[in-house]
């Protein structure tokens, strides 16, 4: 217990790289080197991880505020390793595709690295309080990244995102304080392990108020309908690497928190508010889905599509069974990787053409075949084609959710009934979402990469250098895990505590 956790290394490498950059090291090479070291180190950790053992490994703990039971506790189990893997891969890809801006490149890379260390810290924390604190580390870098190096109406986007995120995280903080205070006085703790022990021994009463605070707080951070409006705007205006980190990794924080903290501790409250949550997540899938179809620009479309896909993961959480939550964890990873590639490619297109308007683009695949091929891969993965992780995830979520709740079919109380329960209705609506995402993704692909090539785009360069390597890396990960999702399932399932 007393030894230092190797996870601390993962958190500190980006921070030190950021400091070095601010002091005077070469921004681009330092950040690529730092993120690559982090990824390799994480892979080494995965090798040393003992999947047979239950509970957290690599644990180290350091009391910070003893009388409130706050301690800086790091640890990882299968699910957190999956999320840490996502964070490090996307960080590496993000700094690789980042192009040094003209003004202040040091702050640009340092901000990206700070976001990265924030998400790594959040996923490596066992203590709920530090889980929250690390997430907030990303707030100021995000504000700076969108506000300084963004495009379009960047100032409005940065303000909106910051105010939403600050409000959401403060509501979340109140929820976390509530979670702490509903525990019995003698055993109060912010340590997730102790909270779960308390919950399992029946010491934590049902607390709908606390649950609503947590749902609202996490919901705003994950862009749950109707609190989603900050997200598409922010992602559309942010520079590509910032959108990759934010949409790909940071936003997963909220869902990870719901699956990790709320599901095992307040299952009764979750059950009680399932109808509300189902309505909201269908809003995410159908309403935002149709809004996505209506978009005329690639960046906005991707922003809305990332909001829409959160609906599936919420469905996995709401169904609250082993199958659906495993699917949700898979989708956390798959969506993170997919949206990161899509935003990276979106940034590449913007850099080449200066526009993302569908009406001005066309036929680019002819001249940039690698760009077109990778976009095709990522678009298919986003729709949920078999062969990518997303397919396995969606399938598990749908199966899990459809089988949840009381069946309303067959002979009940001597009467023959034929109907669907709430979960089944929601799942049916959600399956329709796949059609929606196929529509907008395929249409975007056709508009940008197919058709006649306008004269002015006839000299565009194809993907090359570090950005090509980064995109190939992420797509390769998507494909490998898509064919062998069992690796992820084996890692994540023991970590999921299903009530």
């Amino acid at each position: 217990m007393s030894s230092l956790s190797p996870l601390l290394f993962l958190i500190l490498v980006p921070i030190f790289s950021a400091l070095l950059i601010l002091i005077g090291a070469n921004p681009r090479s330092t950040s690529i080197l730092g993120s690559a070291v982090n990824l390799l180190f994480l892979l080494a950790l995965v090798v040393f991880y003992r999947p047979m053992e239950v509970g957290y490994q690599f644990v180290s703990s350091f009391p910070v505020v003893p009388h409130l039971g706050i301690s800086f506790t790091l640890g990882a189990d299968g699910l957190s390793l999956v999320m840490l893997f996502l964070s490090t891969v996307v960080t590496l890809a993000a700094v690789c595709v980042a192009k040094s801006p003209d003004n202040n490149p040091r702050w640009y890379y340092a901000s990206l690295l700070l976001i990265s260390s924030g998400v790594i810290g959040a996923f490596a924390s066992v203590d709920v309080f530090f889980f929250y604190m690390f997430h907030e580390l990303a707030l100021i870098p995000t504000f700076l990244l969108i506000g300084i190096w963004g495009s379009g109406d960047r100032q409005a986007a940065a303000w909106k995102a910051t105010v939403y995120l600050a409000t959401g995280s403060f509501i979340l903080l109140l929820g976390i304080i509530g979670l702490y205070l509903i525990q019995p006085v003698e055993t109060r703790s912010f340590d997730l392990r102790e909270m779960i022990v308390n919950a399992q021994s029946g010491l934590i009463p049902d607390a709908p108020g606390v649950y609503l605070l947590l749902l609202l707080g996490f919901g705003i951070l994950v862009s749950l309908f109707p609190f989603h409006t900050w997200a598409p705007q922010a992602y559309a205006c942010a520079p590509a690497p910032a959108s990759m980190l934010h949409a790909g990794v940071l936003k997963k924080f909220g869902l990870y928190g719901l699956i990790r903290i709320v599901a095992p501790i307040l299952p009764d409250s979750v059950q009680r508010f399932v109808p509300l949550l189902l309505v909201l997540l269908i809003g995410n899938i159908l309403y935002v889905g149709y809004v996505t179809i209506a978009q005329r620009k690639l960046d906005w479309m991707l922003g809305y599509s990332s909001v829409m896909h959160m609906g599936y993961i919420f469905l996995g959480f709401a169904a609250l069974n082993q199958l659906s939550m495993t699917g949700a964890s898979l989708m956390l990873l798959s969506h993170g990787l997919t949206i990161a590639v899509l935003f990276a490619l979106c940034g590449e297109i913007r850099e080449r053409t200066g526009t993302l308007d569908f009406s001005e683009l066309g036929g680019i695949a002819r001249i940039c075949p690698k760009l077109g091929l990778s976009f095709g891969f990522a678009a298919m993965a986003s729709v949920g084609l078999p062969g990518f992780v997303g397919f396995a995830g969606e399938l598990l979520v749908f199966f899990g959710a459809f089988g949840s709740g009381e069946p309303k079919i067959g002979i009940i109380d001597g009467k023959e009934v034929f109907g669907l329960n709430l979960y089944q209705i929601a799942t049916t609506c959600a399956v329709w979402g796949i059609v929606i995402s196929a529509i907008y993704m395929l249409r975007a692909y056709r508009r940008i990469f197919m058709g006649p090539l306008p004269e002015r785009w006839s000299r565009l360069p194809d993907l090359s250098g570090f950005s090509r390597a980064a995109i190939i890396l992420v797509i390769a990960v998507m494909l490998v895990l898509g064919f062998f999702p069992q690796i992820l399932v084996n890692l994540a399932t023991p970590a999921l505590l299903v009530p």
């Binding site: 506000g147 300084i148 403060f170």
Partner: protein, 481 residues
Amino acid sequence: MISPIVLEVCVVCLGIFLLMAESFSVKSNKVVLAHGAIFGLLSVFVMSFFIEANPAQMQSSGFYVVDGLSLFFKRFALLSTIITLILAVDYLPIVQRLVPSAKPGAGTGEFFVLPVFTCAGLMWMASAADFIVIFCALELVTISLYVQVAYMRRSLASLEAGTKFLILGALSTGFFVYGITWIFGMTGQTGLAEIQRNLTINTEANQMAILFGLGMVLVALGFKIAAAPFQFWVPDVYQGAPTPITAYLAVASKAAGFLILIRVLEPFFTVVAFQPKLILVLALLSGLTLIYGNLAAIPQTNFKRLLGYSSIAHAGYLLAGLAAIGDAFAGRAVVFYLCGYFLMTFLAFLVLIPVTKATGGDDIAHFNGLGRRSPTLALAMLIAAASLAGVPFTVGFFGKFFIFESIINQHFYGLALIGIVTVASGFYYYFKVIRAMYWMPPAEDAAPVTISRLSKSAMLICAILIVVLGCYPQLLMRILP
């Protein structure tokens, strides 16, 4: 071991000595005075660790207490005076321009000496346990502050600020004395300990009158800590006063007000009949102050004025902590918040003064492009603004967290909800400064920003403490009374 009263005596002697030195020395360099004052106060600060805690002859006196809380606030006052003097040294060129004098540099010596007397008053106040002593110490502080606020005689804003502060300050003093007389009339005592004893044997009929007296005292203290609805003087006075004095008002004067509030309310909290009423009043004041301070700060464009509203807002959080005093931990949460407030407010002012000197103004627009002109200053301001807003890994976050933990534990859900709105608006107006520094291009004609070595080291210490305490608050928690 040194008798505790020696500390105040030393500070007063230091002030008199500096005044003499100013009058009789031929040297016109007044900065030496400031350095002397800083050195003298630092020595007193060191001395404060060697004094005898709670000596027997003091216990029986009944008007002067030496407990952990008072020692803590004495050190708080000393340190804030030292930083104010560091600020004042930086600010000297502006003062010299705005003070009429026969020859250049004359008439600025008192600018460094007056804070020393204020400091003595603050230290007396920390130990005062009798309404008469509280009143005298309070007047020593306030009267010397009147002079300091109106110090720049050629600046209309400073004169206006001085007049407003004088009139409203005198009014609040009137309320204070009036309140004391009612309490004295009902309990026959001015010492807080005796009042507490008499309160317990008081008849029910007298309670109304005592509450009335206490209400008057609360009004007066509300002026001092800038709680709504007694906050009207704050924006104008903060904007008009010389910047170091604004910082002094914002930190030391407010902290002293809270200390007095804690001391005065203590005996009344022990009476069961008063407790719910007092808590209700404090919670109402806190809610009003939070809403007013945060919402009115949103449209501000002047940075000093913004800090004025922000100081009202912080008073609201502190009052919320006092309202939750039933929680065993709330008292320490309030003191922790005050310390965090000390660090981040002074850091903001330490950055403001070089910026004012370089650009000639203290609007938020004068911070434009600071990120490129002076990256270190901008980083310091970034840390200060983040901490004021309550971003994690800064001391401001833990301050808010502890306060909110206490108030939720005491079931003040309404205050917690107000807190959501106010924290969100806080993010907005503090981030306006960050936006100006990093998003906006610098003005064409801006002079280069220079920082003196003294204020650079003060800045460094503040910034490091903000971050360190934001990661490991226990460091400070352990030594809190």
